[in-house]
């Protein structure tokens, strides 16, 4: 009798693991950068004033959101970001990731300045039409800064504390649940601490 129960026992064990697995999100990837200082960079901004650097944000909690106008999932999270920027006083910085794709990025007849101009126009048009959640936007045309930040794909969202340390990373669009249950409590807690 006992040996015939073995398949059942193995199966019950499997179901327990599957049940626990259901509560986990396999897309949640722990970033080695969480707990480390945000990599430094200086990138041209959307408005074209002086280059932006993470050091400029020292002393306040801020959010870095990686996006592009061609990214469909970014459009999905866009209304949520707008709502966030209107209700929270935490600044959000947009990092425009490789705005020009494929043949445009490879087009030899366009100079780097032309490309930057084209990317700026396109991003600005999108933000004017759909609303701008960003206090500041920076242009990462060749995606090098994104490599430093370990960007898997757009959109991604980082929370950086007053000391300039990355405290949280979200891969994929921010959902209302993630915003309410993870991002907002974390921001409040970071904001309170000196």
């Amino acid at each position: 009798m006992k040996k015939f129960l073995l398949p059942l026992v193995l199966f019950v064990t499997l179901v327990v693991f599957l049940g626990v697995g259901l509560k986990r999100d396999p897309h949640e990837i722990p970033s080695p950068l969480v707990g480390k200082p945000a990599p430094a960079f200086a990138l041209p901004t959307l408005r074209g004033d002086k280059p932006f650097s993470p050091v400029d944000m020292k002393g306040q909690v801020w959010v870095l959101n990686v996006w592009a106008t061609w990214c469909v999932a970014c459009r999905e999270e866009h209304p949520l970001l707008l709502q966030f920027s209107q209700t929270q006083r935490i600044p959000m910085v947009g990092l425009s990731y490789k705005e020009l794709q494929g043949s445009e990025a490879a087009n030899a007849s366009l100079s780097e300045a032309d490309k930057l101009q084209l990317a700026r126009e396109r991003s600005l048009k999108f933000l004017q039409k759909s609303g701008n959640p960003y206090q500041q936007s920076v242009m990462d045309l060749d995606g090098r800064v994104a490599i430093d930040y370990g960007v898997y794909g757009v959109p991604e969202t980082y929370i950086i504390d007053k000391e300039g340390v990355i405290r949280y990373k979200r891969v994929g669009p921010v959902t209302p649940e993630v915003l309410k249950e993870t991002i907002l409590p974390l921001i409040q807690q970071l904001d309170k601490s000196a």
């Binding site: 009798m1 015939f4 129960l5 398949p7 059942l8 199966f11 019950v12 499997l14 179901v15 693991f17 599957l18 049940g19 626990v20 697995g21 259901l22 986990r24 999100d25 396999p26 897309h27 949640e28 990837i29 722990p30 061609w70 990214c71 469909v72 494929g102 043949s103 990025a105 490879a106 087009n107 030899a108």
Partner: protein, 653 residues
């Protein structure tokens, strides 16, 4: 109106399925013939209702009714007509409906082609299938209704995922589901046998053709998926050990073990408990596959948009179906008689070894697939298990499996002598060794892997050939199952030779090419002649013209494309492939590269023996079909079961 009719038919079919799942089963327990005879008409009615619901959804797709949410999310007015129809199963809800349609079709087929079976057995089998249907219909109605309306109605739909807009993918899911769902018939027969206590040779003979045909569909479905990945994903791979591929491979491995084990149960009355367990396992793994794909517990290219409610439903359903079956097994199996004795060396022992190896291989694949989930559940971190693990574990298990395949077909039942078996196979073995030593030099280079692969492939092919030749010399009609077995084994050998060839001798060049540039993989030279824009019905594409030269003669022009569908930001690669008897020439177009002269990244591959993979799969499928159509299965089994040495359980329900 049409979607509401479809919805209504679906609800009605759930009611009928519930009737089918309870009344005939109760009739079998209480010996009420009238209750039992309800099974066949209920099965047919359920099939009609589900077909009607499916037709309603298809009609909503073909009439571009975007007020149906599922249609709006998976179709588009620009989508070609054939794909508008195929889009019915292009998403989670519709593919589940397809699943249920096939389940009801299998159920109806059992109802129609079971005239030779005792009524009580038919009632039990159809009832079990009805209960499975209830589960899936409830799943659709409560969490995944394809008929939900959308308000306000959008002007146009979001379009079918471009990856799915391909002839290969149009038939891949239906074939795969036919296989998955077909395993539910073997499962239903096993449960019916456990319930009745008639766990005997007759039961094995009834389930054999159904199991073999399901296995053939599953083989075909997996092969199609692999073929599609090869030409559509643009980098020439044909198997990725993706969790969802594994989810289809596991029922296939267990199904393969099952069809062999069923043979022993039919011919010798042995392995009964083991066979029942395999039948339960094959279907359970099909259900597990559904869970893995649709719950979002694992990351995979196949994963549907997941919803926790769906995951919980399937998990509960899985726990109920498999849990109750295994409980029934634990309760009934100890009473099963052992059947005929077998010698240490005998056909039974080779087939047992085959079963065990296949089950261990399944376990290895299951462990690799679920390992990330288990580690995460134990809070030990996040990781992924990749091809190196699977190749390392899987290949060593397949080597002895292929080796014992040949003596397994030659050895006598009950008792055989190792020396006799291998004396009979001396020429086959010798020829396989010689070919394994010589062929690698002909093909280019020698390696342990290529030698082993060629030996195993030739061993299986020549072993089958010898057996067929010997059989042809003897008088008497040769049954379909004999031809089927050898054809399937021959297909396996072609597949093994194909895998060995492509793994050992493929040449891959990832290059950057400007117009006029050439790349040479002896004896072929590829020249990028031209790049131009072309328009498709719902996409625009950049198309390269690549001339293939051999001895300075153009032998072929390949036109790989990079497509941009209007509905999606993700570019799609359409590789161009020139297939020959012994090799594929494979070119796929990548992204433009920045530089002074315009140039593109290109993948230029020489893939020897890839057509053998597809040929091997098709031959195996053909073998399965031939075996299932054996006339022997269609004779009245009531008369035969008297003749067979079948032992029944002591306590019939």
């Amino acid at each position: 109106m049409i979607p509401e009719l479809g919805q209504f038919a679906l609800v009605l079919s759930a009611v009928i399925a519930l009737l089918l799942g309870t009344v005939p089963l109760a009739g079998a327990v209480r010996h009420k013939v009238v209750w039992q005879s309800l099974a066949r008409p209920a099965a047919l009615l359920q099939f009609v209702l589900v077909s009607f619901a499916f037709a309603c959804l298809a009609s909503s797709f073909l009439s571009n009714d975007f007020s149906v949410k599922y249609v709006a999310e998976h179709s588009n007015t620009l989508l070609p007509r054939a794909y508008q129809f195929a889009a019915v199963w292009g998403g989670h809800e519709g593919s589940l409906l397809l699943w249920v349609l096939m389940l009801s079709a299998w159920t109806a087929a059992v109802a129609i082609f079971s005239s030779s079976l005792p009524l009580a057995m038919v009632a039990r089998v159809l009832s079990v299938l009805g209960l499975v249907s209830v589960g899936f219909l409830m799943f659709i109605l409560t969490t995944s209704n394809p008929f939900d309306r959308l308000f306000p109605m959008p002007a146009d739909g979001r379009d079918l995922n471009p990856l799915l807009q391909d002839p290969g993918l149009v038939i891949h899911p239906p074939m795969l589901y036919m296989g998955y769902v077909g395993m539910s018939v073997a499962f239903a027969f096993a449960i019916a046998a456990l319930l009745s206590g008639r766990l005997d040779a007759a039961w094995a003979r009834w389930s054999r053709p159904w199991t073999v045909i399901a296995w053939a569909f599953l083989t075909f479905g997996i092969g199609l998926g692999s073929w599609w990945a090869y030409y559509e994903l643009g980098w020439g791979g044909w198997w990725f050990w993706d969790p969802v591929e594994n989810a289809s491979l596991m029922p296939w491995l267990v199904g393969t073990a099952l069809i062999h084990s069923l043979m022993v149960t039919e011919k010798r009355g042995s392995f009964k408990a083991w066979t029942v367990l395999l039948a339960i396992a094959a279907f359970s793994l099909s259900l597990l596959g559904t869970f893995l794909v649709r719950s979002g517990v694992l990351t995979s290219v196949h994963a549907f948009a997941s919803d926790p409610a769906r995951g919980i439903f399937i998990l509960v359903f899985l726990a109920f179906v498999v849990g109750s079956s295994l409980t029934l097994f634990a309760w009934r199996a100890p009473a099963v008689t052992l059947g005929g004795t077998m010698g240490v060396v005998s056909r039974e022992s080779f087939l047992l070894l085959n079963s065990v190896l296949l089950v261990v291989a399944t376990g290895a694949v299951l462990l690799g697939t679920l390992y990330p989930l288990i580690i995460d559940a134990l809070n030990l971190g996040k990781l992924s298990v990749g091809p190196p693990y699977f190749n390392l574990v899987f290949a060593p298990l397949m080597v002895p499996l292929l080796f014992v395949l040949v003596p397994g077909t030659v050895a006598h039942w009950r008792e055989a002598r190792m020396s006799d078996v291998f004396w009979r196979l001396r020429f086959v073995g010798g020829a396989a060794v010689v070919l394994a030593l010589v062929l690698p030099f002909v093909l280019g280079s020698w390696s342990a892997g290529s030698m082993l692969g060629i030996f195993l492939g030739m061993w299986v092919a020549l072993g089958s050939l010898q057996h067929v030749v010997e059989r042809l010399r003897k008088p008497g009609r040769i049954g379909g199952s004999f031809w089927g077995m050898h054809l399937a084994h021959f297909g396996m050998s072609v597949l093994v030779l194909g895998i060995t060839g492509v793994k050992s001798y493929e040449v891959e060049r990832d290059v950057r090419m400007a117009i006029g540039d050439t790349v040479t993989i002896a004896p072929y030279t590829f020249r990028l002649a031209d790049i131009q824009d072309v328009m498709g019905p719902n996409y625009k594409a950049v198309q390269a013209k690549v001339e293939v030269l051999k001895n300075d003669q153009v032998i072929e022009v390949l036109r790989p494309q990079k497509r941009r569908y209007f509905s999606s930001a993700m570019p799609m690669t359409e590789a161009a492939i020139d297939s020959g008897l012994l090799r594929d020439l494979y070119v796929s177009l990548g992204e433009p590269v920045a530089g002074v002269t315009p140039s593109w990244s290109m993948r230029v591959y020489y893939k020897p023996f890839v057509p053998w993979l597809w040929a091997g799969v098709l031959i195996m499928v053909l073998g399965g079909v031939l075996a299932a159509l054996d006339r022997r299965y269609r004779r009245n089994s009531n008369q035969q079961s008297v003749k067979t040495a079948g032992e029944a359980l002591s306590s019939p329900a």
